[in-house]
């Protein structure tokens, strides 16, 4: 069974079919990338999967659970985490605080036991801290631990956002344009991080990406979209050679 199945997904904004009958399946342990020209519906699919939008048609199934109508805040508990194209962090908090908020889906305490600071709360707190430190080590964020997000450069914030998503211990990580706004060197680092996330944490990655260098270096499978429809699906090489895909990007003769 696939980790994530998207079946006949569609959303219409007025008369515009932003996503039209899209189906695909992401297998556990792979890096699956959605590519396509601007406005193809990539981010819309992300927003559908993360339940910001309600689909007009279709079903979303994760790990055997139909979550088509689940509210957005329960997605994390299901095992899906995401990052955003424009980075959504808690700006007036430190890196460590941001990551600790990521432990929220695993918190099992109530107000009373917190006020009394029972041993169980203390133990849970220590476990959360350990998990956070593990992610900090994995993504090399030690130097920024106590820094305010507002003071960090863009490239670092991008990594922090990914780290926070990983702190929720997801089975599936959705990365929305992980390389956008990064320079060549940072993009290179990003491809290492994605490899590490897949290999060392065993997290399945579904991403939307424009940088074809990054796409072909990390992706196991690629799905190409245009005008909300699936153009091609397969290995990065297959998709890049597909005449429809080339036409969509470069605008071939009609």
């Amino acid at each position: 069974m696939s980790l994530l199945s998207v079946e006949n997904l569609a959303i219409h904004f007025g008369g515009i079919k932003a996503v039209d009958q899209v189906s695909f399946a992401v297998e556990a342990g792979e890096v699956f990338t959605i590519i396509g020209p601007n406005g193809a519906g990539k981010t819309t699919i992300f927003n559908l999967i993360s339940r910001i939008y309600d689909p007009t048609e279709g079903r979303l199934i994760f790990d055997g659970v139909d979550f088509t109508t689940m509210p957005a805040h329960r997605i994390a508990g299901l095992g899906i985490a995401r990052t955003f194209q424009n980075i959504e962090l808690f700006e007036h908090a430190t890196v460590l605080q941001n990551l600790l908020v990521g432990r929220q889906p695993h918190a099992r305490v109530n107000l009373l036991s917190e006020i009394l600071f029972l041993p169980s709360v203390r133990r849970a707190e220590i476990a959360h801290r350990e998990k956070v430190e593990e992610i900090i080590d994995l993504l090399d964020l030690q130097a920024y631990r106590e820094q305010m997000i507002a003071n960090l450069p863009y490239g670092v914030r991008k990594v922090v956002e990914m780290a926070r998503a990983l702190c929720t211990e997801p089975k599936l990580l959705l990365l929305d344009e992980p390389s956008s706004g990064l320079n060549v060197e940072e993009t290179q680092d990003m491809s290492y991080w994605i490899e590490d996330i897949k290999r060392r944490l065993g997290v399945t990655v579904l991403m939307v990406e424009h940088d074809m260098g990054l796409v072909s270096s990390v992706s196991d499978r690629v799905l190409a979209l245009n005008y909300g429809r699936v153009l091609a699906q397969g290995s990065p090489e297959e998709v890049q050679r597909n005449p429809d895909v080339i036409k969509a990007y470069l605008g071939g003769e009609e």
């Binding site: 957005a72 805040h73 955003f84 908090a93 908020v101 929220q104 929720t168």
Partner: protein, 282 residues
Amino acid sequence: MNGIAVGCIYGLIALGFVLIYKATEMVNFAQGDLMMLGAFVAYTLISGLGLPYWLGLAGAVIIMAVFGYLLDAVLLRPVIGQPQFAIVMLTIGLGFILRAAAGFIWGHDPLSFETPFTGKVVNAGGVVIATENLAIIFGTVLLCAILYAFFRFTRLGVAMQASSQNQLAAYYMGIPVKRIFSMIWALSAGVAAVAGILLAPKFLIDPNMGFLGIKAFAAAVLGGFGSIPGALLGGLVIGVIEQIAGVYGPPGSHETAAYLALLLVLVLKPGGIFAQIGRKKV
């Protein structure tokens, strides 16, 4: 002393404004009326039902918190996403309704209830201080300490901070943002109730006491609208300025001093004393 005590009340109401504004970007113009309602509920519990003061206080705070929660969940949630104007009109209208309802239920004659602080004085080394003033100041400090600990150390408090800093991110950390917003309304209404109850021995309770909220609004703006310590300090500043103007200024300046201070701050330091809204980087 009087100025500081009244300032504390302004600060508490301003705190309510700021809590809601920071989280939901709504300005709740009915904040002063929530305080009025809190005082009336306490009146009913203490003078009407004969409960002891502390029980009545706790009861009124809980009832107002539930009221605040429902207010958000039932009335305000549907207007989220509408223009700011609609929300402002809604909360102003809500203030009118609350005042009218209070007048209908409790009448327009000023009321008061017995508190442990009414009419007593403390002689502190030759300085005579009214106990009710001390109660207000002590109550405010205690409430602030509790709120600080709540936001700093509890999961709910942190979830509230997270939701107000970034809603989108909060959703994907598994925080039920909508419910958290309603809880912030509950908190804010509870704080307003405390302010109303603390104020009760000083002023009489009547449906129009909520107009005090306008001065508290001035305090919130003075403090930078969005800064919690700023709101409290803004309240103190307004309270003290008012008293000084009342004693040394020409007649009538007691009432206008607060707005004059507000105007001055807006002209000289538009971001407020504790501006949190940084200039946009270009």
